[in-house]
């Protein structure tokens, strides 16, 4: 069971959280200037790396806040936790 440090509440077990998948994805728009291909990429294409993954988590059964996590998808090591609107941290 992962231990994730919520920026507000501190370390909590994964059961309190929901993983929202890859972060730093801008919603394209406005619709009329967005191509089918652009939109499909937004809807479906993800980095899906083996290793460092920047992803969104929601502390659903905690403070109710979304935040970003830099996690290694191979070792499950959480390398950094940072705010939704922060820039990506300097981790590898």
């Amino acid at each position: 069971m992962l231990l994730i440090a919520c920026p507000h509440c501190g370390p909590r077990d994964e059961a309190e959280f929901v993983c929202g998948g890859q972060t730093h994805i801008a919603r394209p728009g406005p619709p009329e200037t967005t191509s089918d291909a652009q939109w499909a990429r937004y809807l479906f294409e993800r980095d899906n790396p083996k290793g460092l993954h920047l992803e969104r988590w929601l502390h659903r059964h905690g403070c109710g806040q979304w935040f970003n996590v830099a996690r290694d998808t191979l070792t499950h090591e959480v390398k950094a936790v940072y705010g939704l609107l922060d820039t990506r941290p300097d981790v590898t």
Partner: protein
Amino acid sequence: MTRYSLWSLLREGLTGHRGWPKAWRDPAPRPSYDVVIVGGGGHGLATAFYLARNHGIRNVAVLERGWIGQGNSGRNTTVIRSNYFFPESAAFYEFALRLYETSARELNFNTMVSQRGLITLSHSRHDLEGARRWVNAMHLNGIDSEMLTTADIARMVPDLDCSPGARHPIHGGFMQRRGGIARHDAVVWGYARAADALGVDIIQNCEVTGFVFDGPRAAGVQTSRGTIMAGRIGLAAAGHQSVLAGMAGFRLPLTTYALQAFVSEPLKPWLDKVVISPATGVYASQSDKGEIVLGGALDLYPSYAQRGNLPVAEHVMSGFLELFPSMARVRFLRQWAGMTDVVHDSSPIIGAAPVEGIWLNCGWGTGGFKAIPAGGWTFAHTIANQAPHPLVEGFGLDRFARGALIDEAAASGIAH
């Protein structure tokens, strides 16, 4: 290739089994092949076999990072079935099931296909309506399936808790009699041995580290055992397809999750059906060795770790006890996790990659094992003819931009 049979077994028995040849050779990679398949799992090996047998393309190499079958082919719950909803899926998986039915004699390797029947339980009125829609669709698609009453089910699976007082009482269900299980290693080894016999090079411990380009066209792969040129490259590396795509410079609509399976200590024959229970989130069968094999839902975050987490294990096993309250004292022996490439619409991707010279077989989610023979057959066709096999025309990458999704998950409500 020495044919396997009762007679060869008797003959060898008398001579201490010293005469068995290697099931497949251990060749060094040659500098180039007509077709290079990346991924020595069931799909990759079956593709190589059908390239050689159906299309006469025998100058083929299958590259495997470790040992063949080490990925999901050897880490699944061995269920085979074709009870799918949409015509595209139904036709494809039914073709796979039919190939499974003849695979042992086709490959001269006992794949232990056991069509013991697969029961999907309905735990509410709404489930039951879904089941009926399902069965009706399967009938139209010419696939055997039948509705079952709770009494039918209680007869077939005596230890199942069919009491109305259950937290999720069983309202009925449906069965595909031809569904069942097969021996996963046997499928991998059977295709490997048969492909090798037709001249295919199976190259293990050969990790692809990059691609060689000739202009825009991918013309070969760099590997831990040197550069290998290829007329065409087929990627069939479930669990690593995104990583390979990254090396070739494109992205795929895949996310990789861990899927756990659990096996109990061996018991005398106890369950001779495959039982799937969407409401409790678990499915169960008993292997020929006597082990109860349990599967459940995906871990809920992307993972390449091939390890499972405890909450999912607890959920699967408590779900199992809801179905079979008599099994609390039975002990779970072994757990493993496979890496599943999940696609938004839970349907596979077979066809051309965005990069010329590369072809894709991926996105099987949790349903790859049951698809192996058809996946190999249609992928071989697609590579050989450089055009999709009719059965997989709907499964191309382009469907995402067009919105022509074949959403089995949404339509079924059960994970694949």
